[in-house]
Symmetry: C2
Subunit: 297 residues, 2 copies
């Protein structure tokens, strides 16, 4: 039940884009790559990626958020190409890139970056087992959504169907707020003084790890998703106001919840796919007229 | 320049106590152990620990905070033994155990637990390179402080001299507040719904790791240090109110600071030792009339 695998072109060959291109090349799939940094192009070429400025098939924007809108300006894109991206917020990309490419644009976000960045951090196994949000917005064409979903499945990810706004609210809670909490924990400990930092151990190291990320990247991410991040941060503030035994028990219950899954078949239909995503499920495979996946029990 | 190594007796053979007893036994040092759980005693005996209820030398209380005050009730303790503990808060232990044993008590806290617990989590290398706070309070006898410090050095830790109150303020910021932030992050994400939890990845996993700890243990820890934890949490709340670019930059600066050390010699004298601790330094070795250590540059 193999489906056509369109050629893929990746613009931006840093950690995410470089890893995606490398994973596809390793799987024997035709993949073109481009980066403004010749060293990134060279590193990708060494992994079997064809370096070129002519892009077709599924074109993946793997550049920082501020560069997203202009990333294709000096490149040649086939008129029927599907455009997707790997940006960590989806509404601003929909409003810029989506406005430019209309129904040819399908937003995406693989949940697997690390605090490292650049082509030196490329890892073809980066996507294996990761969730990859693929946006099904009002104007999204389902066949193009499927092409992007298949790309994600091809590199070992599980696809979570979402609207751009649902995505942004969700990642505010599980990805953007963690960056602010990590920064606040680190800065608060520094206020406490050198003795506190000298006694810092595992819980501090883990709780502040993502504060090691590039601050420009983090700032673009939280400012680019300001409304949902403020709402998610308010929920965390509310949690911090609870009596501590209650708060500790609630946090532990979330962490201790077992990941029980039930296999499902989902029709290739927008509302059924979005329902799966809202229930916390994911797509793992495409059959002829269905998608296979799972849903939490 | 070897110094007398008094016998050590460890009461409570879970992760911390069991690891300490195992590390000492592995180093060929006489060590006695006791636990109310026969299985924990058996596991320690298999690592070369002598299981007995008669304790002498340096007696280490490695039991949960609520059990600390009564841990020695049914055991025989030599009248000149030095009593220390491994509890995660020091003022409440000073007020209970310290009140009972007077100047024979020296509080301590190795900064190296994990979210695991019990004798199955024993690791003789647990203390290697860790900081170990050893309390020098008003009534602490310096020779007994040195015995506890030597025990910490013997298993590869670096000793941070502190008062009990300084310790509690410092660990509130770097160890206790991280547990509350982890719980609030997990509970806040659960409020956001199943889609958010399905998209959770590295930053959420790291930011919530310690929410996996035993909630009874965490609650005893934060409630046992309520004042300093509330103060440290308020500092974090204040940080979260800053403009995000400023907050992100401040957190990153703390995380990116390089750990530059200058070797120092510190006289065996209370105020000099406490000054070293306040500056963020640590003791690494005892010479005849000095301690060797380092201080941040």
């Amino acid at each position: 039940m193999t489906l056509p695998a369109p050629p893929v072109a990746v613009v931006g060959l840093g950690q995410l884009g470089g890893s995606l291109a490398a994973a596809l090349a390793a799987a024997g799939r035709p993949v073109t790559g481009w980066d403004v940094d010749p060293a990134a192009c060279e590193a990708a070429a060494a992994r079997g990626v064809r370096v070129a400025r002519e892009l077709e098939g599924v074109v993946v924007l793997a550049v920082p958020l501020p560069a997203m809108a202009s990333a294709l300006d000096d490149l040649t894109v086939a008129p029927d190409a599907t455009i997707t991206d790997l940006g960590s917020v989806k509404r601003p990309v929909l409003d810029t890139v989506g406005a430019r490419y209309g129904s040819r644009f399908v937003g995406g976000h693989p949940m697997c970056g690390t605090e490292r960045s650049g082509f030196a951090a490329v890892d073809p196994a980066l996507f294996a087992g990761a969730r990859w949000a693929v946006c099904l917005d009002e104007g999204t064409e389902l066949p193009r959504w499927l092409r992007v979903a298949e790309l994600a499945l091809a590199v070992g990810a599980e696809v979570v169907p979402v609207t751009s706004d649902e995505h942004d609210a969700a990642v505010a809670a599980v990805s953007h707020v963690p960056h602010l909490l990590a920064a606040a924990l680190a800065a608060g400990a520094a206020e406490a003084g050198p003795l506190a930092l000298a006694l810092a151990a595992g819980s501090f190291r883990d709780g502040t790890r993502v504060a090691g990320s590039d601050p420009a990247f983090v700032t673009a991410m939280v400012d680019g998703n300001a409304g949902p991040v403020a709402a998610a941060l308010d929920r965390v503030r509310g949690q911090l106001d609870r009596p501590w035994p209650e708060l500790v028990a609630a946090g532990h219950a979330v962490k201790a919840a077992t990941d029980r899954r039930r296999p499902v078949r989902v029709p290739l239909e927008r509302s059924a796919l979005l329902e799966l995503g809202r229930a916390g499920g994911a797509v793992t495979r495409r059959l002829a007229a269905f998608l296979e996946g799972w849903i939490p029990e």
